[in-house]
Symmetry: C2
Subunit: 239 residues, 2 copies
DNA sequence: AGAACACTTCGGCCGCGACCGAAGCGTTCG
DNA sequence: CGAACGCTTCGGTCGCGGCCGAAGTGTTCT
């Protein structure tokens, strides 16, 4: 199997608009049924079925039967990471293309706050990352990041004791370029823990049928107090 | 521009075997001419020209004219990283597929040692990463890595003073999953510095027309003494 | 200047694969 | 049990895009 051929196979898999829409819809890590995916790809169930079979055969999705439904999800974090990387490349490919930029078919709600596989992205995700860097909790480099000594205490105070995560001083903390904001947000284990904690606290709520995340009233207060992040105005203003 | 559509566009770009072969051929970061790429993709110059135009328009490649040649290279490290990630996903997609595994069209020389954009990969690359971890020079986690305190001294002794690289203790040091060995090798700035240093020392020599890297006699000694890595036997044995 | 060369554009051919409706299968209701 | 439902398989249509040869443009060499 030549490297080029292997490359072209996954490329072709992602390269069809219907399949790409399905993959994008699944990017938040949830499982969706075949008909939901058919709807979000805007194709007939028959077409969707074929696409999904190919994606499963190609190892990009896994499927689990449940009653008369079949639920599909992204097969691994590798695949999710690949999708994100491809989106970054795609968004950088047309830097000055106003025609494209001018038609932001990405919904305002998604741009505001969404999940990215298992962590937070969008304006909220980037804002949190900025806040954590500004407060000296984490230090982010181009491809790696780490939690500072004082940051450990801050995170523990937020309900995220890192002692149990691992022995090493280095933590699974990774910047992930946000394709809508074009600036890094926080990914990795820490990003996932943060997202889960915000959900536990009732600050955010995942929407049923999309990757969008809504910030609750408690979340508005919490993000402002703890992070100095204004997550509310844009939501309140309906943007 | 919907996320799905953006995704599908770069997917489709990579999804053609001819284009994927070109991208794979350019993965080591060198610039190749249109006819060289036509040859490595095994298509007529006319076809190659069209493919290359699309890859440039899509932002995956950049081109520079030089006399009557046009030299193409991968547009950015982002793109190279995307290709590597896609290869990892591709290689994981068929874990037990012996029919594929049994036809390793990847040449033994490439599997032995090659460049991966700007750093070393293959058996040599993985071996060096292992050696650096074993010697406590670097610590690698799943997605991040760092140079230890004692590692700084070791690297300085190898001719890589890190003082000038940056102020922070954290270094641009990243594990990169090797698609032929399926284990991480060393990437990031450190990986690139290491590769360049080995070339400076005359330990390795890049082949003219491929990503393959040959280990010189001096390199065999050097890798054994400094890293405890046996880079020679396989080469000497012709494997 | 003229020939050789690197590359692109054009035009026509052809095949893969995406699409859908209809029919088939298995599950879950009433 | 039969109807409704979710999904897949089948069969046929169709259009996009890859392919190449030939001709055209620009560059270098002698």
């Amino acid at each position: 199997m030549s490297p080029g051929l292997a490359l072209s196979e996954v490329g072709a898999l992602v390269g069809d608009p219907a399949r790409a829409n399905m993959l994008a819809a699944l990017l938040d890590g949830r499982a969706l049924s075949a008909s939901e995916l058919a709807w979000s790809a805007r194709v007939a169930p028959a077409s969707a079925s074929g696409h999904l079979a190919r994606l499963v055969a190609g190892g990009l999705l896994t499927v689990v039967r449940q009653g008369r439904h079949r639920y599909f999800r992204v097969a691994s974090a590798d695949v999710a990471g690949m999708e994100e990387t491809m989106m970054v490349v795609a968004s950088r490919a047309h830097p000055g293309d106003d025609r494209r930029r001018a038609t932001p078919r990405i919904s305002p709600a998604l741009r505001e706050a969404r999940t990215c596989y298992d962590h937070l992205a969008g304006r909220l995700g980037v804002g949190l990352a900025d806040a954590l860097v500004a407060r000296g909790v984490v230090a982010l480099a181009e491809e790696a990041g780490e939690v500072t000594e004082s940051g450990r205490a801050w995170l523990a105070g937020f309900g995220l004791p890192l002692d149990r995560v691992g022995r090493t001083r280095r933590l699974f903390c990774r910047p992930c370029l946000d394709w809508s904001e074009r600036r890094p947000h926080l990914a990795g284990v820490l990003g996932a823990m943060l997202c889960r904690r915000c959900e536990e606290l009732g600050w955010i709520r995942r929407e049923r049928d999309s990757r969008a995340v809504t910030v609750t009233a408690a979340g508005r207060r919490g993000f402002a107090e703890r992070f100095g992040v204004d997550a509310g105005s844009a939501i309140a203003a309906g943007r």
